[in-house]
């Protein structure tokens, strides 16, 4: 454990040093380190993850994929409701709680998204956004191989989320791990359109993903209406 901590500390220090040397941008002080991580990520994504997702898209029938997405979205909706509460948005919280109740009950444990069909929109809040609403900045940008882009703030949100996630309470280990696995596959599956877009549009994929990620998160923290003076900051 201590060795792991020491290794991480060393990596971070190395990244920080490398970062200083290359005069990186303000939101990405560890850019050289992150780019190295991205260089690890890309071949894994191209040769392992993507073929897997392509096969998933090809061989798993669309209704089944939809059920898996709905199930995972339903868990996210529950966390969205919690975060609505933490951000002081009672209307949104009512919507998200209503969604979870409807979909968990009538929607057979979240497998069918009845709430969307009757027009109750998803809140889409998470812990990273809550920290943002509370006034925390993004902190340094981080790229984690396989996981993808995040920041110190959003990454902390993810840790909170995974720590509390209801799937963790399932005592049967293989079943629990299956749900985790399906969750991860679904996450990557839902991101595929964005990934294809980046391939087509970007001159430098690393920089394109970073800017898109930071813009997107800022937009989400402000629920779609970013004040003009905040836009300049990015």
């Amino acid at each position: 454990m201590t060795r792991a901590v020491r290794t991480i500390a060393l990596l971070v220090a190395a990244g920080a040093l490398a970062g200083c040397a290359a005069s990186p941008t303000r939101d990405d002080p560890f850019e050289p380190f992150n780019r190295a991580m991205y260089a690890v990520h890309e071949p894994i994504d191209e040769h392992v993850v993507r073929p897997f997702i392509d096969a998933y898209t090809k061989f798993v029938p669309s209704p089944v994929r939809q059920v898996i997405s709905n199930f995972n979205n339903n868990i996210d909706d529950l966390f969205s409701a919690i975060n609505d509460g933490l951000q002081g948005k009672p209307d949104k919280m009512g919507n998200d709680l209503g969604r979870v109740l409807i979909n968990s009950g009538l929607g057979l444990g979240g497998m069918i998204d009845i709430a969307s069909q009757i027009g109750v929109e998803r809140g889409g809040e998470d812990f990273g956004q809550t920290f943002g609403v509370w006034g925390f900045g993004q902190g340094p940008y981080i790229f984690i191989p396989v996981f993808g882009p995040t920041t110190v703030r959003d990454g902390s949100g993810w840790i909170v989320r995974l720590y509390w996630g209801p799937v963790g309470y399932i005592p049967d280990v293989p079943f629990r791990n299956t749900l985790y696995g399906l969750g991860a596959i679904d996450l990557r599956y839902q991101a595929q359109d964005a990934v294809s877009f980046v391939d087509q549009a970007a001159l430098d994929r690393y920089a394109f993903i970073r800017r898109a990620y930071l813009q997107r998160r800022l937009y989400q923290v402000y629920d779609g209406s970013v004040p003009p003076d905040k836009k300049e900051e990015q």
């Binding site: 669309s62 939809q66 998204d113 969307s116 998803r122 889409g124 359109d193 294809s196 877009f197 087509q200 549009a201 970007a202 001159l203 430098d204 920089a207 394109f208 970073r210 800017r211 898109a212 813009q215 997107r216 800022l218 937009y219 989400q220 779609g224 970013v226 990015q234």
Partner: protein, 203 residues
């Protein structure tokens, strides 16, 4: 005499009508324009057999023909270049604009070949009638479920009518995204380096 007068009158009326039509078209409200053009593109995507078969050349032709007249690519390129724009020669500016336009059209074409059963909803336009710069907000609703995607168009009034100079997809501004990329390329290889990279990407 009367016949000549009448024929002149008719000609005048015809010219006046043509003039009114042109002006009306040039002054088409920006939100109405976005709605009409998006709908036209989606209609072609739905009905054109070649587009449906994934014929890239045909898709490119449709996107270029239907969308290009409503975009101000020079404005877009200047914004994406930021403070580097004035340092480029007029010839470099022309090349940058042409290559950037080509990249955007290819990217849009790639996206279009995947989507066809979308519906475009306009969100209310919050602008006063004398504004010369507006953001038209739309919502793209997918037929197969899934979260609707908000797409906003930043538009400026030009002598040729309203033209878009930025597209913001789910909060991600294309111009802002490219600004990072362009400045990095220019830092590494100058403006000619950026032109070369764009050409290679489009080639």
């Amino acid at each position: 005499m009367v016949a000549m007068y009448l024929s002149n009158l008719r000609r005048m009326v015809f010219f006046a009508a043509a003039l009114v039509a042109t002006v009306a078209f040039a002054q088409e409200a920006p939100d109405a324009m976005v709605k009409r053009v998006s709908q036209e593109v989606l209609d072609v995507a739905r009905t054109d057999a070649k587009v449906q078969a994934g014929d890239q050349a045909r898709i490119h032709e449709v996107v270029d023909g239907k969308l290009s007249p409503y975009f101000d690519f020079t404005h877009m390129t200047a914004l994406a270049m930021g403070r580097n724009w004035p340092t480029a020669t007029p010839d470099q500016q022309k090349q940058l604009t042409a290559e950037f336009k080509s990249l955007l059209i290819r990217t849009y074409s790639g996206a279009l070949s995947k989507y066809r059963d979308e519906k475009i909803e306009l969100r209310p336009l919050a602008a006063n009638p004398s504004a010369t710069d507006v953001t038209v907000k739309t919502l793209v609703v997918k037929s197969g479920g899934g979260a609707p995607v908000p797409i906003d168009y930043s538009m400026a009034k030009t002598p040729d009518g309203w033209k878009a100079y930025d597209v913001i997809v789910g909060g991600v501004s294309l111009v802002t995204n490219y600004r990072d990329e362009f400045s990095q390329q220019i830092k590494d290889g100058g403006i000619d380096g950026l032109i070369k990279t764009l050409k290679a990407k489009n080639g």
